[in-house]
Amino acid sequence: MNSPGKSLCLFWNSSIGKKIVVAVTGLLLVGFLLGHMAGNLLLFAGRDALNDYAEFLHHMLHGAGIWVARIGLLVALILHVMSTISLTLHNRAARKEKYEHEATVQASKSSRIMAISGLIILAFVIFHILHFTVRIDPELANMPDPNEPGRHDVYGMVLKGFEGPFVPAFYFIAITLLCSHLSHGIASIFQTLGLRSRKTEGSIKALSWLVTALLWVGFLIIPMSAYFKLVSDKGHASTGLIQQGTVADSTGYSPGLNRVQSAIQQGTVAE
């Protein structure tokens, strides 16, 4: 009856339609977070593992892959924020007059601060991108990989980026709020997409908590380990002995191409 364009408008303008946009984009973002966390954890496998991974991301599909992912994520984030802000404003208008005696029966604290946790996450995402992707700090921007000087040293940059007390503290707060957002958000996806029922309610809640806890530990372990020096930047350390050790270790992780380079590097160290 309606043209597809009109149907799309009706869908976007309906309460349920916008909620479905929130859930689908939220699901995409959660998927990204899990992948991003797994990739980041390569930090614990050493400099070469992390830097190889970063190089791989930048060369996916001849360099196009990372842009496809970036644009896709940006569109998802923009749609998520636009629809949630519009829904939140609409919800406030629907309950203009507050109760003199307010009471809450079972809504969780996390579910009641979604807009605030969301906006802080947004501020964090912008900071995080300027910090590690755009690298507005020249000190972090000019870090060649000591084992392979042609490429950026993501490993060293991450460890250096978390040196001060403020950055790790901000990460701690923001990621904790992200997890608060997700403790309600992940379970919510199922309800919004019509996949939750009394029978599955328990397992959905458990899954939601499990994924949230995993993300909290997986993301925070990096700034915390860096700040408390549980992982140290051996590549930039002064003693040749340690450096030699690192290089010898790291050959195990390096693809063939790097191995030659590592060998050369090892030679340099021996000198």
Partner: protein, 253 residues
């Protein structure tokens, strides 16, 4: 028992309204909540303040009509589960308690006077699609149209909704999803309602949005206060049925 009541008084729809305090004296424990208000109203009428009695909605006083409302200490139909305001008894309170009594609040439920709200937005949602277009002749034989037990039960559970509006009153966003979900599921689950399922869901949801109800944020406050214990499963079903109907509308019909 003696109680202190904090009651919302509002002379008419455009009045700002405020909380007034009343001392409810010598309330028998066996009185119902609405009988307690009747006693307080008698006391107001007998006094010489010239004040109008407290206006509130009620009809059947046995939990089936959906007319009584009231937010009692912040919770629609009180914190007792699975009952309407008319089924609340004073024995659930203690001597000396202070009780807050307010109208159901939502932009789509404007206050008419004191504790009475205009809930006709629900009627307009029903008029938009909460029916089936068939001739209503004499009832057909019960077994001429087989319906699986599980579906009949789910439909019956949804049909228990009495349209009181407590779900809207409890929701932080004044969303009517539990009511609309129940009314749509009740018909969508049955063979008689199935042919008009898509049209019904689209029309009812659009009317719900037009009335100014909020959006569901999956906090399940509605489910917790519903006097008929309608499950939030009907909301998941409404989301699912709406998504399917919207896609079909865009590409098929």
């Amino acid at each position: 028992m003696n109680l202190t009541l904090k009651v919302w008084r509002q002379a008419h729809a455009d009045d700002r309204g405020s909380i007034s305090t009343y001392e409810a004296k010598d309330i028998p424990e066996e009185a119902s909540f609405l009988e307690m208000l009747d006693i307080v109203n008698e006391q107001i009428l007998e006094g010489d303040s010239g004040e109008e009695p407290i206006h509130f909605d009620h009809d059947c006083r046995e939990g089936i009509c959906g007319m009584c409302s009231l937010n009692i200490n912040g919770v629609p139909h009180s914190k007792e589960q699975g009952i309407t305001t008319c089924q609340v008894h004073m024995r659930k309170f203690r001597d000396g308690d202070t009780i807050w009594i307010e109208p159901f609040r939502a932009k789509a439920f404007p206050v008419v006077k004191d504790l009475i709200t205009d809930r006709t937005a629900f009627d307009r949602i029903i008029a938009a699609g909460g029916f089936i277009d068939v001739r209503t002749g004499s009832a057909v034989d019960a077994n001429s149209l087989p319906i699986p037990k599980e579906e009949a039960d789910s439909s019956f559970d949804a049909a228990a909704c009495i349209g009181c509006g407590a779900c809207v009153a409890a929701c932080k966003n004044a969303s009517a999803m539990l009511f609309v979900g129940a009314k749509a599921a009740h018909l969508n689950l049955l063979p008689q309602g199935e042919p008009e399922k898509d049209r019904r869901v689209l029309s009812m949801v659009r009317q719900m949005d037009a009335e100014g109800f909020g959006n569901c944020t999956n906090q399940y406050e509605c489910e917790a206060v519903c006097p008929k214990e309608i499950s939030a499963d009907v909301i998941a079903k409404l989301n699912r049925d709406y998504a399917k109907a919207a896609v079909k509308e865009a590409v098929a019909t």
